[in-house]
Subunit: 492 residues, 2 copies
């Protein structure tokens, strides 16, 4: 059975099926109607790089090294000057799937490090079309190079130069390129009758948001909605392609997102986390609860709904299970195999851990969530207009100082209070009972935790994408400045 | 064609189909899947009595008299000591439907006045089972009588005495009584082959929230969710009954709500307005945008979605249209006939007016909404913990003083910004263009507005439900105190 993972960059509330009021995602809604909707599905981190590392390793960022210790409880990712990336010691899903004869392709944003040793084709992927970093820019190629776009081992151009993104109009045809790549890859695999793993990690809804000309101005929601519509259309075309090729019953598809909608970019470039608190960068529900749909015609009953607490790391374990492979036994794997949930409607008891850096900020077990630390961002950042919770303010919860609650955690019942507005009374029996349960889980978790070497501590302008492989053929090699490694600055 | 109106007391975000994360409304979701979902549907007022008066008259509360002038921009309703009610001069939907041979029944809360002249059977209904006021209580029958429950012309008991509501456990079997009444009425009408209008105005989700024993503890959402589940189950049974009797294709059913979820009652007794700002009592989207579903098998295509700006007043005009009756021509009707929208997918250009008392607080046209006045509630109330926007705070928008913006309205684009968090820049061309359009509509509206005599100004302890008709037979007549009419106090 082949696997397809569609990794979006949208919020829980961005899909019609999840209550977005414009309801402009007919294809995603149809996918949900034909498959199974996960309402309690999480990412492993409120930021993109660590979530992606977690998805592909099945392990929490604190284990696989995708975190920083430069400051307390800081989010970190892989900007161009990051020195680190995915360690060779980590086993990635595509590496393992190769043993079962899979062909693995990544389309879109890699984000697990851009230096040579971190190249996705060195970590199990057979093919790549996309970029190592976010499509930020344009840059001047002197202070900072434009981000390269790779085909397999070599770059084939750079954003803003060869792959245009018009920041004025928001026009870029990248999603169409990524769509075509997916369709072609699927056709090729179908022809060769080889199982495949397709990781479609498109980034049109990440600021600077873009959409193809034919989608510009089509949404009630502005440019962000245009990008959502194009992604919706693309997903619909890919699923239809699987059906037309007659391989949909042999292809397990899962769609989810790497972090909550970036409310700092709203309203023009930011999405919706529905009824949840705050967004990307935070460990409130808006930062980490994600839209999620499993689709596998003939196997998953149509119209199913699951309250299984799920996590992007489960896609690692589930895809291995589909391939008939055991998970690695020499290391802690945090993902679980979702097939019993999806095929037999089981509910597996497991907690969700919400980290910022290497600090365990919160834990969910069942319907209860305990916050051990609360923080949105600093007063200093907030006073500059950087707001991860625009229009939202819950006293003692959306704090602008790092508040420690490790001795008396804030507890919320996410069924009655999905928006994390009403902490349970410390004196209540319900609080005592729920905390006792969660405390046990935390103790167990911490006792066995072996943190990986932090990969996101050191930045160096010399490691930027100055001269990626293939630059010579294109005449696009740039001169790197002197190496000047220093601690990366992670303000939140 | 018969008409059924299910008037709930829930928020936009309380239905699975509208993104409630527990997704516990399978019957309502099924109703939506078989019918048409309205995503931009409104009530006529952020409070129950005026909305109900508007629904049944097809006219804004400021026209039909369901408002107060005791203070500026105050919400008012019909508590037990209200002197006013629906004026005889108003034409109610059931009065008109009678001319087409309809039998009309109201089940549940009337709320259009409880004195003799306001009795629903004097205003077109043929049958009634329910109460004139909210099920508040219990009262001591000395300072204040318990609310009576009527069957047709006479009371058959009182809440907390003959119709138990256990405030400790939340147990009450009232929704089951209301369900059975609906099933019986429909059976009777089907047998007699008479068209009917059924107004099912149940109130289990209104604080004090209640549910029958079999539903208690069944929801992830606590007691409020239990009540929602029971209503969901009941609606499912009523629709199934119509189908089993073979009259579903002759019965147009519309489900909506009378105001946004009461966030002051959250989390135990209050629902969700999804991604919208604030709740009941306010003229933000959370106060007035409502869940809405049209269902009419064989006529409405399954799975439809409409962005028509709709209003509860449209149910007046639509039901008349279904009955082949013209709307009254001697007065301004604010409702529009939704049949072209529902059957032919048309979009009718019309504004939405958001009133508090007789003050026009806001206007929506297309995707733009202009706020002429902003107010949540007073600092004085807020400091006592009365909060209509818990966890939400938008500077200059969710104000605690009545802020006038009539010269420079705050404008929001509800497509990009459904949560009303980002006012458009006053200097933008978009602002100028949108405001010009809305200003024209407001001018036109105000020029032709003839306010009705305000009905909700005077309160008198002597008019309470001391001795409703039928009390003698039950030995439940109480002695009224001296008449002492005074201005009702409306704090928000």
């Amino acid at each position: 059975t082949s696997s397809g993972v569609f990794l979006l960059q949208m919020g829980w509330g961005d899909l019609g099926a999840f209550g977005e009021p414009s309801k402009e995602t007919p294809n995603l809604d149809q996918m949900a109607a034909e498959g199974m909707l996960f309402l309690d599905f999480y990412t492993a981190n409120p930021l993109c790089s660590p979530s992606r590392a977690a998805l592909l390793t099945g392990r929490l960022p604190v284990r696989n090294g995708f975190y920083t210790t430069n400051g307390h409880a800081r989010n970190a990712y892989t900007p161009q000057d990051i020195v680190g990336g995915i360690p060779d010691s980590e086993l990635l899903l595509p590496e393992l799937l190769k043993k079962a004869g899979y062909t693995n392709k990544i389309i879109g944003k890699w984000h697990l490090g851009h230096r040579a040793q971190f190249h996705p084709l060195r970590h199990g992927f057979d093919e790549w079309f996309g970029s190592p970093n976010c499509h930020f820019g344009p840059y001047d190629n002197r202070e900072r190079p434009n981000i390269p776009v790779y085909r397999d081992w070599e770059m084939v151009g750079r954003y803003y130069e060869d792959f245009k993104i018009d920041l004025e109009t928001g026009e870029a045809n990248l999603t169409q390129l990524y769509l075509q790549e997916a369709l072609d890859f699927i056709s090729k695999q179908q022809a060769s009758q080889q199982p495949f793993f397709l990781y479609w990690a498109i980034d049109a809804t990440h600021a600077p948001v873009y959409a193809s000309k034919q989608f510009l101005g089509t949404s009630q929601r502005g440019l962000y909605g245009d990008a959502v519509r194009e992604i919706d259309d693309s997903v619909g075309k890919i699923l239809k392609h699987l059906q037309q090729l007659g391989i949909s019953e042999n292809t397990f598809v899962f769609l989810t997102s790497d972090n909550g909608a970036a409310l700092i970019s709203a309203p023009k470039q930011g999405g919706s986390n529905g009824p949840f608190l705050c967004g990307k960068e935070t460990t409130f529900e808006g930062g980490m609860r994600e839209p999620a749909i499993a689709w596998w015609p003939g196997h998953i009953p149509a119209g199913g709904v699951s309250h299984q607490l799920g996590n992007v790391m489960d896609l690692f374990s589930t895809s291995l299970s589909l391939a008939g492979l055991p998970p690695p036994s020499d290391r802690q794997i945090d993902g679980i195999d979702l097939l019993p949930v999806i095929l037999q409607g089981k509910l597996i008891d497991r907690p969700i851990f919400y980290y910022r850096g290497n600090e365990l900020m919160a834990v969910r077990a069942g319907l209860y969530k305990a916050h051990y630390w609360t923080w949105s961002n600093s007063w200093e950042e907030h006073s500059k207009g950087i707001d991860f919770c625009p229009g939202q303010s819950v006293a003692g919860v959306t704090t602008h100082t790092q508040e420690e609650h490790t001795f008396l955690p804030l507890l919320f019942h996410l069924g009655r209070d999905p928006g994390e507005k009403y902490p349970l009374s410390f004196a209540s029996e319900e609080y005592q009972r729920a905390l006792e349960h969660i405390s046990g889980l935390v103790q167990q978790h911490k006792a066995t935790l072996v943190p990986g070497q932090p990969q996101l501590n050191v930045c160096d302008q010399a490691v930027m994408n100055w001269s990626p492989p293939g630059c010579e053929k294109l005449g696009k090699c740039l001169k790197a400045p002197e190496s000047d490694p220093k601690k990366c600055s992670w303000p939140h």
